[in-house]
């Protein structure tokens, strides 16, 4: 990994980490939902600090360049996040539908 990439990674993950914490303080983000982002940014910082370890793992796994390994980890992380969000949206959708039905049936009863 080049030194530039390492610096960019560290800066970006620091920013996202700080962003997470300030958003929680402004209560715009629930703690349960933000933990995963904090873990993600810590992971990035670790990877950029211990670049030698990353290079060693990438080499053992047969990656052409260590940076590819870093990207793969990030993509995997994002895919899991997207999937979890999708599930959450479906659950919310189902809950709103139930409420919708409940209100309609209650109003019908009152007539």
């Amino acid at each position: 990994m080049t030194i530039t990439l390492r610096v960019i990674l560290i800066i970006c993950s620091l920013i996202s980490f700080i962003l997470c914490i300030t958003r929680i303080k402004q209560s715009k983000l629930k703690i349960e939902n933000s933990v995963i982002w904090m873990i993600g940014s810590i992971l990035l910082i670790i990877m950029s600090i211990f670049a030698n370890a990353v290079e060693w793992i990438a080499n053992k796994l047969g990656f052409m360049a260590p940076v590819n390994f870093v990207f793969l980890v990030i993509i995997g992380f994002l895919l899991i996040q997207a999937f979890i969000d999708n599930m959450r949206i479906s659950t919310l959708n189902e809950k709103i539908k139930d409420l919708n039905h409940y209100i309609a049936l209650k109003e019908k009863e009152r007539e």
């Binding site: 189902e94 709103i96 539908k97 139930d98 919708n100 039905h101 209100i103 309609a104 049936l105 109003e107 019908k108």
Partner: protein, 230 residues
């Protein structure tokens, strides 16, 4: 048997009076209009005529409409629920044939089908229907000649499945689910008209999306449905 006709309606102010008149003239079953938060005067028209109407506060689509109808029927102990379009395509005279099939114990679900005795026309619009028939035949072994028909009667057992499983829709994939649950499905020959006013739930552009959804649901999800344990 206590029978309820549910009529999902979205922006049907021009059709709904005719539909209810048809129902009242030709049947003596209870009915319930499900107003899916219409933007036009559907609700006002129904109130003015003192129709039995249930109004949803948020527009949530056809599936949600049928599901809330099922909940209502379950709560009020109906034995048979009929799904009937409010846009004037369906004719109420055929409903007693569907109910008769269920009352005689010939089936759990009766479908008002356009193609029992008649041949399916081979045009673009029927192409999807032919493919769906094929998919259902492959996954369940039963031939359903008109899988997209919106005129269906469900018995108590089918209603209970709808209550228990909120992923069930009033679409062809649910038929596969029901067949896998060892429910009997029978088709009854009916005639349908073309709609007169307003737009259908299935707009031409949406048809492709609808077909893809149906295929994935039938092949990967509904076909794997397990039988109930006794």
């Amino acid at each position: 048997m206590k029978t309820l006709i549910i009529i999902p309606a979205y922006n049907e102010e021009l059709n709904i009076e005719k539909t209810i008149k048809d129902l009242k003239d030709n049947t003596n079953y209870d009915y319930l209009i499900i107003n899916d938060c219409s933007k036009d005067k559907t609700k006002e028209v129904c109130k003015k005529n003192k129709f039995n109407i249930l109004s949803l506060p948020i527009n949530y689509g056809l599936t949600s409409g049928i599901q809330v109808g099922m909940k209502y029927a379950y709560k009020n102990n109906y034995d048979i629920v009929i799904q009937f379009d409010g846009d004037g395509q369906h004719q109420a005279t055929y409903l007693k044939d569907l109910v008769k099939e269920i009352e005689n114990g010939n089936c759990n679900i009766a479908i008002g089908s356009r193609f029992v005795n008649k041949k399916k026309p081979k045009n673009m619009r029927m192409f999807g229907s032919i493919l769906l028939t094929l998919a259902i035949k492959i996954t369940t072994g039963q031939k359903i000649k008109d899988p997209t028909s919106g005129m269906r009667a469900y018995d108590k057992k089918a209603i209970e499945y709808f209550i228990k499983n909120p992923s069930l829709t009033p679409e062809p994939d649910t038929l596969v689910y029901m067949l896998k649950k060892k429910m009997k499905i029978k088709e009854v020959q009916v005639e349908m008209r073309e709609r007169e006013y307003g737009e259908s739930y299935l707009k031409p552009l949406k048809s492709a999306e609808y077909m893809i959804n149906m295929f994935f649901s039938i092949i990967f999800i509904r076909a794997m449905t397990r039988k109930d344990k006794k």
